[in-house]
Amino acid sequence: MTPTIKKTLQPKHFYSLVIFVFLFSAVSFLVNVVASVGTPCHTVTTPDATPSTFGSPLNFFSGANELLISVNCDGSNATHIEVGSGAPTQYIYMYGYRKVNGKWTRTTFTGSTVTGVWIIGKGGVTIEGVQSGETGQVLAYICQNIQNTWKCGCSDTACLTPKWQLQEYQLPASSAGSTNSNGDGILDVHYPSKYLGLPGDTVTLVGSGFEKGPVSKILWNGEVQETGVSSETGTALTITIPNLPPGKYEVKVKEGNVVSEYGMGIWIGTGDNSPAPTITSISPESGLQGGTFTVHGTGFTKENNDAITTYGIVRGLPSEDGKSITFTYDPFDEKLVSYNENAERTEYALPVNVTIMNTSGQSNMKIFNLNI
């Protein structure tokens, strides 16, 4: 009798496989973490985003338009520039240029495979970082062998005129924020915990620069209504709504001689249990910029209703019947006209969100469209 050999996966093989995959992924993870310093911060990612005097940082010959010049920002400390996508048919001129705030400086890329003044596949360099608000620029010159023809410094697939290829970069907003944060420095009120209350109610003001001692004064329409207010965190201040007539007030914080620049509107209610405003419809549902629109609903006050919209506040609106508010809507400095990417005129219905706020509360939201 001939013995048969069963080719099954033995438990010890399974465990070995799992351990191998785990170790491999752990090593991959560590390699990746070490290699990927910073956050992508390049800003030129489409063919049309490059000025005509420069070539594009995109690869027009791969079918994917991937970036040939990419930038990672490590906060404002360092900038890592990578040139080339690693293909052996790509030759990168080892000298490039970088410009930060007006000054071009030559820079040298390095890579693992170099022949003469050309780096094959992929090169890179780490340079100083940019500050928040600055735009950095880098130039590189990349040649690709496409079907035995060299294509260098391309702006498109025809690649008739070789040019230095440009990439630009800025600190991402998240990094930028970490470098220019107000912290506790600038006295500013951002927004309140609620926009409507009755005398005696407390409201928390969220902001920055509040003193931690009991030194803050609260101004309601420019008049000090509360003193000795203290913040535990420097970013929140709990105040009490003063005994003032119902209406809308501009609230600011004063510390020493400094008054917060921006005021916020807080409403003191009537306390008569009037129902909050409700919007049932807006007519017309769409119209032109500068046109007249009517908000229909209930709970509107005879005077001083605010329409809070996507593009600003329309203030102090009357409502004779308590059921409709009419206003002209033209919040823009210019007449808006829309086009498609080919510069062809296309009409677009720009949505405008609207809520109504008054001494009874804030309404639901409805939308009308501006045809632009």
Binding site: S28, S70, P172, S174, Y191, M264, G265, I313, S338
Partner: protein, 123 residues
Amino acid sequence: MKKITALRHLLITALFVSCVVLGSFVVPKTTLALFLEGGRSQEASFCSCSVCFKIEVGSPKSGTFMYCPWFTRLYAHYNIFPNAWQLGKAYTYMTCLQISYPYCRTDGGGYLLTMTGTSHGGF
């Protein structure tokens, strides 16, 4: 026998974690970049060919952002214009295209907001 089962569970968990870690590298990193927006809206300008508004937002999470009504989800209190406080998320850089007849030209750009909520917007 219990020891072997526990070991098997441990190893299967390790395999699952490995797959998640490895899978995260398959997704292009640039698409994962997510930026926080948080500050006072300082300036808004219309990009006529991309039908978006380019918004300058101040600190603490400052930057230039693109509010595109056809893409950005807007939350209460719905005001993106200057003096309103913004708090949102953005990803990927987007150019602001302006009409310069007969072409559309690039006029800077910013990070495309996926969602943003706002304050009322001043007094």
